[in-house]
């Protein structure tokens, strides 16, 4: 086979939207997408995890505890958590949408959610770095990022108070939808994200955008908690499996 004159261009091209997602396959309004999660995906990180909910794919790696590099005055007696979110070029969002996504705000939300579970007083004078990479965005990536980050922290053997799972709900045309896809997020008038602590049953983060009536809000929070409970079971099982594999049990 001789060399072709023009050997450029993509090796493989994938047409978007050809796969039928489950809501199209009549997923119930209160039904999660099938989830896949796994730890230790990045070999050079202290801990890492991968989470996939159909077309939403998120990878997270944790470095640390690292020594503080000085500079700004930081609290000596506790660890600082810094979070970075990045998206791939092919994540599925157009450029103008990428700009609209306030990444710094999202980083802050992930950071604050994680601060509620990490035992920061165990790691004085150090920094725990959490890097989240959104490989493909098909909705609910912020909640996926938080769940994934918790999984990666547990994989890095950072001391945590408890496990956390996160889930979101949107209000699209008066109907609440759990674990929305990107299209559902776009046509939604409001959304709620809740991160749920698996052992104590407390809620550590509530993040709401758009408009929601009072009773809708209450219903939405209840719905997210029920979703997060299901996810928490998967997170725990994933860690258990990894541990028994590591110990050859």
């Amino acid at each position: 086979m001789g060399l072709r004159e023009f050997d450029y261009g993509p090796l493989v091209s994938v047409e978007r939207g050809t796969e039928v997602t489950t809501r199209e396959r009549k997923r119930q309004w209160n039904e999660l997408r099938p989830l896949f999660m796994r730890t230790r995906m990045v070999s050079h990180a202290a801990g890492s995890s991968y989470l996939e909910a159909e077309n939403s794919k998120v990878i997270c790696s944790v470095n640390g505890p690292l020594a503080n590099t000085g500079g700004r005055t930081e609290a000596i007696e506790r660890a600082k958590i810094s979070c970075y979110i990045s998206r791939t070029k092919f994540c599925g969002l157009e450029d103008d949408e990428l700009e609209k996504r306030a990444t710094t705000e999202y980083e802050g939300i992930v950071c604050r959610a994680l601060e509620s579970i990490v035992r920061v007083e165990q790691y004085p004078k150090s920094t725990i770095e959490v890097h989240v990479l959104v490989i493909e965005d098909d909705g609910s990536t912020l909640s996926a990022a938080i769940t994934c980050a918790c999984l990666a922290l547990a994989d890095a053997k950072i001391e945590l108070r408890e496990l956390m799972a996160c889930c979101s709900v949107v209000n699209a045309n008066g109907q609440l939808l759990l674990d929305p896809t990107l299209d559902e997020e776009k046509e939604a008038s409001g959304s709620v994200l809740v991160s749920y602590l698996a052992t104590s049953g407390k809620v550590s983060t509530v993040f709401q955008t758009g408009q929601l009536a009072y009773d809708e809000m209450a219903q939405a929070v209840e719905l997210t908690i029920s979703g997060a409970r299901e996810i928490a079971v998967l997170v725990r099982n994933c860690l258990r499996q990894r541990e028994s594999k590591d110990r050859g049990l």
Binding site: A46, N63, G64, P65, L66, A67, N68, G70, T73, E74, I76, E77, A79, I117, R119, Q122, Y123, P124, K125, S126, A154, D155, A156, K157, I158, E159, L160, R161, E162, L163, L197, A198, T199, S200, R236, L239, R240, R242, E243, S244, D246, R247, L249
Partner: protein, 183 residues
């Protein structure tokens, strides 16, 4: 019976579990804070949650015994980088300083830093305080702390300790001053 626990797993009532490694007590219950297997003492009392040693997340704390490398010295202190804490390699290097008054326990005012440490030496020390923003404060006052590995300034050979204050090069027979760790 050892069992696998994840962060937040309930280990038992607060009185049954000592607030040890990998667990914490909140209210009247004790919880695991890492993924690992439960570890019991002789009487079947749960004492800690064991993590695979190499994967432990660790930082230097007050009282930790650390292994470090001397980076630079001056007349008042030696600057070191902490590499290992309690036998577990760190995920990132922490900085520490050994002040002249913390080098040894006796004749503290006679200590000379260049006669105790040289850049490149491997030193075992104890963390005495978290220090300031940048450096942990370390001490080698105890007999078992001090230089454990040093190279001869002339030949580059690893030196052998001959007493608590001197090391000798096996090649050139030169004696050099160090604060030697008692083995």
């Amino acid at each position: 019976m050892a069992r696998i626990v994840t962060p937040g797993s309930i280990l038992g009532k607060a009185g049954e579990v000592s607030d040890g490694l990998g667990c914490y007590v909140e209210g009247d219950e004790a919880f695991s804070s890492v993924t690992g297997i439960t570890h019991q003492d002789g009487r079947g009392r749960l004492i800690s949650v064991d993590v695979i040693r190499e994967r432990k997340a660790i930082v230097p704390l007050v009282g930790s015994v650390v292994t470090c490398r001397v980076l630079r010295i001056n007349s008042r202190f030696a600057t070191v980088e902490i590499l290992v804490v309690d036998g577990i390699p760190l995920r990132s290097v922490f900085r520490g300083i050994i002040r002249v008054q913390d080098v040894r326990e006796f004749e503290v005012d006679q200590v000379d830093i260049p006669k105790s440490f040289r850049p490149g030496d491997i030193v075992v020390a104890e963390v005495i305080s978290l220090g300031d923003k940048q450096y942990h404060s370390l001490s080698t006052a105890k007999d078992e702390h001090g230089v454990i590995h040093a190279l001869c300034s002339q030949s580059g050979e690893a030196m052998v300790p001959i007493n608590s204050e001197q090391m000798q090069c096996p090649k050139t027979q030169i004696n050099e001053w160090r604060k030697v760790a008692k083995s």
